[in-house]
Symmetry: C2
Subunit: 116 residues, 2 copies
């Protein structure tokens, strides 16, 4: 039994981008992490309603959270913006994590603040 699954989208806290841009980066992170998850996990997540949570990185670096996911074998995808429009090339803007077990993801993102 794998328990509750979720995907967490972490958005960089202190970045000045437009709402539309932020949404497209979040969608990119979601899709990227989805493509790294196993078919089995995706299928279970799908059956559970594809729960997604959006949080802010606060004072954590997205790169560090990403490395932590990799160490813990949690599928994750770091979005680096091509920088053609609003930010400098290579700016890290979002991190997609999972689908994976909720409690496993919480060991990485449990302290981060939900974006309400």
């Amino acid at each position: 039994m794998s328990g509750d699954l979720k995907q967490v989208i972490v958005l960089k806290d202190d970045i000045d981008i437009s709402k539309g841009k932020e949404i497209s980066q979040a969608a990119h992170a979601s899709l990227g992490a989805y493509r790294k998850a196993s078919d089995k996990k995706v299928s279970e997540w799908d059956n559970q309603g594809m729960k997604k949570i959006v949080v802010s990185s606060g004072d954590r670096r997205l790169e560090d959270l990403y490395e932590e996911c990799k160490r813990k074998s949690i599928p994750a995808y770091l979005v680096k913006d091509a920088g053609m429009t609003e930010v400098k090339p290579g700016t890290v803007t979002a991190l997609g994590i999972g689908p994976a077990e909720s409690d496993k993801i919480d060991t990485v993102t449990g302290e981060l603040k939900l974006i309400g």
Copy 2:
């Protein structure tokens, strides 16, 4: 040759939901439409950098835009919220369209306003 591909995420204009909720609905729309696209289209879109555009539905109904996509054989996915938190069950909140040819999607969403 298939030309420029993009994905368009249409968000319902007059809905009162939180930013985090809106982002998760947008990601859901993006993922849903992605899963309806052919492997070939996905692969081409991937190679082109997975362009995503976020627009507002304005005075159009998401259901009507969705039907138009279906008539034109453009992969699309309509997000109906389960309504457990902020909105009434079954509320349509977002529509994902594509990846598909830019000019083909524009015949459906070309008049809609970009969310900047």
